[in-house]
């Protein structure tokens, strides 16, 4: 079968990427339901629909490569290797969560995995990624840092200043604009004077490109070249992923700002996982049965994560005042 495989990934790699995308999707779909039930406190911003971007990019990164994520960070966490049980516990505000329940959905981090944290401040991750890239440059091991921002964040000074700093210091930093068309509820057509993120990069002399973020293989190949370039000292670049958001800005968002039939259409025609499945089965690299097996496996994993999260203890009163300083 290997000879038949037209893709630049092995069967196992493809299967793993599918597993990752499905895990993200299932994780988010499940949160959508449980949030509706009132099981989950606070805000959750779901990544469903955007899986191909995170997965296609993270496929090229190791633990030594850092990413700075956004408020919509679950997909980045999962594809960067953060444990889903710890994530679920965190979102449920439990002890043993990725942040022992002190961060929640918007602040999940795992520095050991190179995940510098989801971020509640839109655009704040870009300078942090510059710092990670600077550290990588000093370490000299060819590590890179990736900053994810949404189309909304691209209006923040932090993002634009970071493009300049990264260009000036020739940092191994990659800026990924996840363009899902909405800054919270406001259409980018309204919010962005020039709705092109590649143009913003060009303004700082950074090369930028646009890919169909719902096409895993397009993202994967583009990311491969951009990351390779950064590792070898080619400097920063920008990757705009045009993508779709299956849910609202956050859970509880009625999405009345969407056009009629918009959601149905994107779920039908622009579901990155469906596209991936179609491609790999058409090429007869993976069988529908193999994919189904992954689906079932993922279902079980998420079910188990939820069960463990609900069973996990809540933080104790004593935890309120710990972890503020290393020493004080």
């Amino acid at each position: 079968m290997a000879g038949k495989n037209p893709f630049p990934l092995s069967r196992d790699a493809l299967l793993q990427c599918y597993r990752t995308m499905r895990t993200i999707r299932e994780f988010e779909e499940r949160l959508h339901i449980d949030f509706g039930r009132g099981d989950i406190p606070g805000f959750v911003h779901l990544y469903a629909g955007e899986e191909a971007a995170a997965t296609g990019i993270m496929a090229h990164l190791g633990d030594g490569d850092r990413i700075a994520s956004t408020h919509r960070g679950h997909g980045h966490c999962i594809s960067k290797g953060v444990d889903v049980v710890q994530m679920m516990k965190e979102i449920y505000g439990r002890k043993g969560g990725a942040c022992n329940g002190k961060g929640g959905s918007m602040h999940i981090a795992d520095l050991g995995k190179g995940m510098m944290g989801a971020n509640g401040i839109v655009g704040a991750g870009a300078p942090l990624a510059c710092g990670a890239a600077l550290a990588a440059k000093f370490r000299g091991k060819g590590e890179v840092a990736v900053s994810f921002v949404g189309d909304g964040a691209s209006n923040q000074g932090t993002f634009l200043e970071s493009l300049n700093l990264a260009a000036m210091w020739n940092l191994p930093a990659i800026f990924v604009v996840e363009n899902n068309g909405y800054a919270e509820t406001t259409s980018r057509d309204y919010a962005v004077a020039v709705d092109s993120y590649v143009d913003r990069a060009a303004g700082f002399g950074l090369p930028g490109m646009t890919v169909d973020g719902t096409d895993f293989f397009a993202v994967h190949e583009a990311a491969a070249e951009i990351i390779k370039r950064a590792r070898e000292g080619g400097g920063p670049a920008l990757l705009e992923c045009k993508m779709v958001r299956f849910y609202g800005h956050f859970e509880g968002d009625a999405q009345t700002y969407r056009g009629p039939g918009e959601l149905e259409a994107i779920r039908a025609d622009q579901d990155c996982i469906k596209k991936f499945a179609a491609a790999v089965t058409r090429a007869e690299v993976l069988s529908a049965a193999e994919l189904k097996a992954v689906d079932d496996e993922v279902l079980a994993v998420i079910e188990d994560a939820v069960r463990q999260a609900k069973a996990a203890p809540l933080p104790a009163a004593a935890d309120l005042t710990t972890d503020v300083y290393v020493t004080y």
Binding site: K4, P6, F7, P8, G181, S187, R188, D189, Y190, V192, A193, V194, D195, S196, V198, D199, A202, P207, G208, M209, T210, V211, D212, D215, F217, A218, H220, E221, A222, E225, I226, R229, A237, E240, K242, G259, E262, A265, D269, Q270, A279, A283
Partner: protein, 365 residues
């Protein structure tokens, strides 16, 4: 389809691809970036020019790439400033930010009976329009990475030529020129597509980021024409055996890295800022209408620079050159004729009135 339009008010279409010149060749080569603001300026220039030629209505493809949003803001300003501008109407379609937008727009414009379609894009965009516009004449403005098909020319001039034809001051005979294309068919038309400049066979076997730049993966190149001044894979043919877009027949070039089979090594600009050496086994003319069988077992067919049709063992891939396949506005000839016939001269007795400003009607989101 827009209501209340008739041939009395000559209408043209504009399809401006917001993501042309945005592909991976920015990363792997030194391809430039045409900013959205510049694309919008081109469109504004075109609108002003066609207005001057008395074109009153323009249909535009909507997009989520920034052109529509910025153009609408700009048109409001134009209106505030009382600049002459045709009525601009965006097609009633929901953009998907994929090539499907161009396909659909081309179909809708044909249905709406536009006289011609002005295309902003590279070879790939033009291909997409030609594939779906069912013979509606097109005029190309090169805003892509590879622009072998659209000729380099000031957009205003192109727009004036289109205006002359659209308003009937030049007829089809005077204004239009026939073009060749390549027809690609897999398994006797099971899957079919076209290329305006080049159909390239690559061993890559998957679409990925679409653009093609790895010469080691090239197997064969089929060309409708081969311009030695072009950039892109067609340059390989252009520098090997030039063939004009108005000349008969096409060209097939078979490539090989294997020293034993290759006849020569050619140096060619296969992408902006990327000059590569490719081994050439042999090349042959492509008589019109004669299907050429693709030898490669499995791979992908790249149409005008973009990987489109993956095929594998058992698939039968045929490529055929077609002449007089579609028509383009021959800008050079239009302007010469119009000048010779004094179409641009205004009689001193009747000073031209400034046309009243038209409101750009903006579809509510």
């Amino acid at each position: 389809m827009p209501a209340g339009h008739s041939n009395a008010t000559p209408c043209i279409g504009i399809i401006a691809n917001p993501v042309s010149a945005r592909d991976i060749r920015r990363i792997v080569a030194h391809a430039g970036n045409l900013q959205i603001a510049d694309r919008v300026n081109i469109v504004l220039g075109v609108l002003t020019a066609v207005a001057a030629m008395r074109v009153r209505r323009v249909l535009m493809m909507p997009d989520n790439g920034g052109i529509r949003a910025m153009l609408m803001r700009s048109l409001k300003r134009e209106d505030n400033l009382h600049h002459a501008c045709p009525e601009v109407e965006f097609l009633d379609m929901e953009p998907t930010s994929t090539v499907d937008d161009t396909f659909l727009a081309a179909r809708m414009m044909h249905a709406a009976g536009v006289k011609a379609i002005i295309v902003l894009g590279g070879d790939g965009t033009h291909r997409a329009v030609v594939r779906e516009c069912a013979g509606t004449p097109i005029a190309g403005l090169s805003t892509g990475t590879n622009n072998a098909f659209p000729e380099m020319r000031a957009p205003t001039v192109t727009a004036m030529a289109v205006g002359l034809y659209a308003t009937g001051r030049l007829d089809a005979q005077q204004a239009l020129a026939p073009n060749k294309l390549l027809e690609v068919s897999i398994n006797e038309g099971q899957r079919q597509d076209i290329a305006l400049v080049d159909a390239v066979i690559s061993t890559d076997r998957y679409v990925g980021a679409r653009a093609l730049w790895k010469t080691e993966s090239l197997a064969a190149i089929y060309l409708a024409f081969a311009d030695p001044q072009a950039i892109g894979l067609s340059a390989i043919g252009g520098l090997l055996h030039p063939l004009g877009r108005r000349e008969a027949g096409g060209l097939a070039v078979h490539l090989s890295d294997d020293p034993s089979t290759r006849k020569l090594v050619l140096r060619a600009p296969i992408a902006p800022g990327m000059v590569r050496e490719v081994g050439v086994a042999h090349w042959e003319p492509m008589p019109a209408g004669l299907p050429f069988r693709v030898a490669l077992q499995a791979g992908v067919v790249a149409l005008d620079g973009e990987r489109e049709m993956a095929f594998s063992a058992g698939d039968r891939v045929r490529i055929t050159l077609r002449e007089n396949a579609f028509r383009t506005v021959d800008v050079a000839r239009c302007m010469q004729t119009a000048a010779r016939e004094g179409l641009f001269r205004l009689s001193s007795s009747t000073p031209q009135r400034r046309p009243a400003p038209w409101q750009a009607r903006i579809p509510s989101p």
